[in-house]
Symmetry: C2
Subunit: 231 residues, 2 copies
């Protein structure tokens, strides 16, 4: 007679990692950078790309809906069209800054779409698990948030693999949807540029280049409730 496996049979021991393993996780977290320009042209091996996608697929998702899809864009002509979509939007964005800020903004080149050998468009399908999703009933954005967790998993795995990742967010959705044939109902969460890197900034590039400084963590941590003086 077949017996149904009990949920508790799937519970396994979960000790803390050894010191050196824990250090490796923190190293990935603290040395990960948003790469805009330092990509090497070498193609990424298929097995490496699959490890990164598998890491993304291991992300938490609301109601285990796994709403993500991954469109791999290697073709140079398609990447050139994406770069044009970015460039148009970037020119619009530039006009929103003035004076020194505008000059600094213009100095922040973003060549990743053209230089990196692989782009990955990561999408969120809100209908992946039907209309009512466990955990999304009171926060309709939980599906996109799950997809962002997949992005961050991929990013950290990439750091460990010596692969740089840049997240491009400056484009009109409609341009990229038309380019890749993405249906209207599906949300584009991230356009990532990926390529090997042999150098990374020791601090976020926007800090290095004087755009904005790292905030003090202590100012962002509050005991018990939101601070009274920060309404």
């Amino acid at each position: 007679m077949l017996t149904q496996p009990k949920p508790e049979d799937a519970l396994t021991a979960a000790e803390p990692f050894a010191t050196n393993e824990r250090a490796a996780v923190y190293r990935a977290i603290h040395t990960r950078r948003d790469v805009r320009d330092q990509f090497l042209p070498d193609a990424l091996p298929d097995d490496l790309v699959m490890r990164l996608l598998d890491a993304a697929h291991a992300a938490p998702s609301v109601g285990f809906m796994q709403p993500w899809s991954f469109i791999l864009v290697r073709d140079e002509a398609t990447r050139a069209q994406a770069y044009q979509a970015f460039s148009r939007a970037n020119a619009e964005a530039e006009n929103l800054f003035s004076g020194d800020r505008a000059q600094t903004y213009r100095g922040l080149k973003l060549e990743g779409i053209r230089k990196a050998p692989l782009s990955i468009c990561i999408t969120c399908d809100p209908d992946r698990a039907g209309p009512v999703v466990l955990g999304r009933t009171h926060n309709p954005r939980m599906d996109a948030y799950s997809t962002v967790c997949a992005v961050q998993n991929l990013w950290l795995a990439a750091r460990a693999e010596g692969v740089g990742v840049g997240w491009v967010s400056i484009f009109h959705d409609a341009d990229i949807k038309a380019l890749l044939g993405i249906p209207e109902r599906v949300e584009i969460v991230a356009w990532l540029c990926l390529g090997f890197v042999d150098q990374l900034y020791s601090e976020p590039e926007l800090a290095v280049k004087g755009w904005r400084e790292r905030l003090a963590l202590a100012d962002l941590v509050h005991e018990g409730r939101w601070p009274q003086d920060e309404a």
Copy 2:
């Protein structure tokens, strides 16, 4: 004479991790679970909590705006009130499922808010870096997405520390904002329950308990464009 440091001085060598370090990163990614019930009551040491928050603070953020704040909720009475807010919303959610699904849903206990010794409410302040944010000009959700990256960093660091994390998303924002004094303009991105764990499910709990299966990654990866047959 003082010379301004050049951005390229901040570039440092970025080799791939050693094999065992890489394995540790993947281990954190693949064994991380959304913990609902297995929390141990022991308080988390302050230095450990700060390492987790520091990991969160190392997340990428659009325009380096670092929009996150972390409210630490240890007080039992406050957690009991949060649990009540969750319970009310959960009863509403339960009514959206019927038949077997409703029964399975009722069986998915979520005791983390009460059992875990620490809750962290992670928020996103859209005004942290002024009205115009580099990279948010064409996607207004990028600030919340940055905050989700912080959540995932914290979650993976916690796994390496032997700390379980559960993300609660079933509550009315207004209830939690009133409880913690969070201003209207600030978004609650996540309520996380944290505590030591000595056991974790080998697969996501919702898979173990028959709610939903893991999808095949190959079905979610597409070359070049969205598949024609999935409009």
